[in-house]
């Protein structure tokens, strides 16, 4: 197809919309809570009551408050003339008389009752509240379309300004201008390493080669983090558009998305999205009638955490065992099949089209000096509200945990949050004033990582938390280098010994020594960061470790770790003195 008119598709789509809409979340979280049954019931009831001309039922993506799923959002075009009975105005957003109402835990019965509301009957369903702090403290940049756009219909994405960014760059931007715009925005990689995206693009663009590859890392392996899954299930075209823009800027004609094998729904929705984009000529050859060709293929992972590491991921795309290789050479020079390859995270690509459409200044206006833009977090664990959270970078932890998350469940107190998954660390509640950005969390011995945020309360034992993460890294170590393969096993053994109450001070010293050794000498990021949860709990919750030690002769203490740098040791000793003092 030579030329397609995005405006025409968008206006057709908008014209075909019914005035009242029922949006059912059909992301994996709500689906496992029974969203499909609710959706079917809605359709049946709308048919049965003859409301098909005025009420439309749509499958949309994530609406963030996963713990209350299945979530349903009802949009009523004209509240003044609507027979839909609204007992109280609380919990609705009013905009040109349009009202949005959120419902929690919508199963067949409540679905029936909600549809009956359009005939003026009383609605019996659990009401949500868009005015609650959970929603009011959040922003919508990456999740702008989630819950509004239908992920399985490209027209719906186009009606929400979709593919305008790609159209714009193909017609009005030179290759350098795209990279310049991304660099100016200050966007940093959202996968965890936080490398400036513009600089990465520039490096790949500079390398002359016949073939280049654009790869999207959707192997979201951190347990407790599901930002990427949610985005792929809710708004897959946004990621495709970002990749296509990268392809244009880098002079690449082939993209790969490497999706975690545990995400069948994301794979399915991406497949549908790619087929639809190909059909409209938005992907494939001569995109928008320009000489630019770009195709995207899917690669499905098969359950290996280490494949989130870029060199392991590339090995897996090429059909090999997913073991990492030392860098340099970096993928930007020598990647897939030896060609320059760009690797970015799902969320990084998700930001691209919006930066192009709204300009880099708009993006750089959000966040902090060194961490620009917004970030999606998965708030889970022992807080009242669990789900997806999008806030500007630099938002203090307490705002996320207490205002948005609603704090601890009744009777308990929050003790710490764990960020960054098995590579991250625990941040104690006393430090919740810290702004969440890449640099501040690194200073505390944790990382922002890909965005998992797990609240721990007084029922969680920190030593056991450390053991849990070490077991994870032990199981997931690919076995290539000895520090990671053997070190994780020994650290795990020591942690179990401490938990069993049979360890003494010498064991604790040995544990610290081993952690630093594994951190300093492992081949890839998995091993280098595996000791982080243990080290950070040792740093902030040392008393919990010490209370589990059996009394031993102090002369038996082994020499303090020689491998520790003096700064680290100073820090640890000072902190341990502080904890002892308190």
């Amino acid at each position: 197809m030579l030329k397609i008119d995005l405006e025409e598709i968008a206006s057709k789509e908008i014209a075909a919309r019914k005035p009242n809409r029922i949006h059912c979340c059909t992301a994996a979280g709500c689906l496992s809570a029974g969203a499909e049954e609710g959706f079917e019931q809605f359709q049946k009831e709308v048919d049965r009551l003859g409301l098909t001309d005025t009420v439309q039922v749509a499958k949309v993506g994530c609406m963030r408050l996963c713990c209350q799923g299945p979530l349903v959002k009802v949009q009523i075009a004209d509240s003044t003339n609507s027979p839909f009975p609204i007992e109280d105005k609380h919990g609705t957003i009013q905009n040109n008389n349009q009202i949005e109402i959120l419902f929690h835990q919508v199963h067949a019965e409540s679905a029936k009752s909600i549809v009956a509301g359009f005939t003026g009957q009383k609605v019996e369903a659990v009401r949500g509240d868009f005015q609650s702090p959970f929603f009011q403290n959040q922003v919508s940049v990456i999740l702008d379309n989630s819950g509004n756009v239908e992920p399985e219909r490209i027209e719906s994405y186009i009606a929400a300004k979709g593919y305008k960014g790609l159209y714009q760059v193909l017609h009005h931007f030179s290759l350098d201008e795209v990279i310049h715009e991304i660099t100016r925005s200050g966007l940093r990689g959202r996968g965890g390493a936080a490398y400036p995206t513009g600089i990465k693009w520039g490096t790949v663009a500079k390398n002359k080669s016949e073939k280049k590859y654009v790869v999207c890392n959707a192997d979201e392996g951190d347990p407790g983090a599901f930002m990427n899954r949610s985005l792929l299930e809710s708004d897959p075209h946004r990621v495709l558009e970002g990749m296509a823009i990268a392809g244009y800027a880098l002079g690449s004609s082939q993209g790969y998305i490497y999706v975690r094998g545990e995400y069948p729904l994301a794979v399915q929705r991406l497949q549908i999205a790619i087929t639809q984009a190909n059909r409209l000529g938005i992907l494939g050859t001569r995109i928008f009638g320009t000489p630019f060709d770009f195709r995207i293929d899917l690669r499905t992972g098969a359950g290996a955490f280490v494949c989130g590491e870029e060199t392991a991921l590339m090995a897996s795309i090429m059909g090999q065992r997913g073991t990492p290789t030392p860098r340099p050479p970096y993928p930007a020079e020598h990647g897939l099949w030896g060609m320059p390859t760009l690797l970015n995270n799902v969320e990084t690509y998700g930001n691209i089209a919006a930066i192009i459409r709204n300009g880099s200044d708009w993006f750089a206006g959000m966040g902090t000096q060194t961490s620009k833009g917004t970030k999606v977090f998965c708030l889970t664990g022992n807080v009242v509200n669990t789900g997806l959270v999008e806030v500007p970078l630099g938002t203090p932890i307490h705002k996320i945990v207490y205002d948005i998350g609603g704090g601890a469940v009744e009777g308990n107190t929050i003790k710490a949050v764990q960020t960054g998954g098995p590579s991250g660390g625990c941040i104690p509640a006393e430090m919740f004033d810290v702004p969440v950005d890449y640099d501040s969390l690194a200073k505390l011995g944790s990382i922002l990582g890909s965005g998992g945020m797990i609240a721990l309360d007084n029922t969680n034992r920190m030593v056991d938390v450390a053991r849990f993460f070490m077991q994870f890294c032990m199981d997931e170590s690919c076995g290539k280098c000895i520090p990671c393969r053997a070190g994780t096993v020994q650290i795990h053994r020591l942690l179990r010994k401490i938990l069993a109450g049979s360890a003494d001070h010498a064991d604790l010293d040995r544990l610290e020594q081993l952690c630093v050794m594994v951190k300093d000498t492992s081949l890839c990021g998995l091993g280098q960061s595996a000791p982080n949860p243990t080290l950070s709990t040792l740093k902030y919750f040392r008393s919990e470790y010490e209370s589990l030690l059996k009394e031993s002769d102090s002369t038996q203490r082994i020499n303090l770790p020689l491998l520790c740098s003096s700064a680290q040791m100073g820090n640890q000793e000072q902190l341990s003195a502080e904890t002892k003092g308190s």
């Binding site: 979280g29 496992s32 809570a33 347990p223 545990e262 098969a302 359950g303 997806l388 764990q418 993460f469």
Partner: protein, 169 residues
């Protein structure tokens, strides 16, 4: 109960599908993982014979195919059990007591995590994060995801299968 003949017939047609899928992927060696996914979907697990067949088709050493198949957790090298119970032990589920769920099922069934009962009826597995963390703790019973799970609710659900196990022992 399926007769041997229908089973054989099914296997022959599955093999034909696998062959055509490999052809569609142009016998590319780098498509090995895709091919193994397809084969597992068709045969429900990867037997030695299947791996040998894939190796031959892609002109790869058997050791390489075996190496890839054993590296990735999602590839099953044993026939699946009739019923499966998967307990998610990702961080969010762990924090909300996933191990209590696992222990409850283990002590009730006498099966260890990661094992299949002798009569191949039941398999009990744990998995690291299925990602509907908002509704943790999560279990998957015969492919159906269930959130906010409690030991009591879980046992209620599994009782049907486990009664048989108890009878057997």
């Amino acid at each position: 109960m399926e007769s041997k003949e229908t089973k054989l017939h099914q296997e022959v047609s599955s093999l034909a599908i696998l062959e055509s899928e490999i052809r569609k992927l142009q016998y590319r060696q780098d498509a090995l993982i895709e091919v193994l996914h397809i084969a597992q979907n068709l045969f429900s697990y990867l037997s030695k014979e299947t791996l040998r067949y894939v190796a031959k088709q892609l002109k790869l050493p058997y050791s390489k195919v075996q190496g890839v198949a054993t590296f990735y957790h999602l590839f099953r090298l044993q026939p699946p059990a009739e019923h499966t119970c998967i307990v998610c032990t990702g961080t969010a589920c762990y924090v909300k007591g996933a191990y209590r769920l696992l222990e409850t099922v283990e002590s009730w069934s006498g099966l260890q995590e990661g094992h299949i009962s002798e009569d191949s009826k039941i398999s009990l597995r744990s998995v690291r994060c299925l990602e509907p963390c908002g509704i943790a703790p999560v279990v998957v019973i015969d492919g159906k995801v269930r959130g906010h799970e409690t030991p009591e609710k879980l046992l209620q659900e599994l009782k049907g299968w486990f009664v048989n196990v108890k009878d057997r022992s």
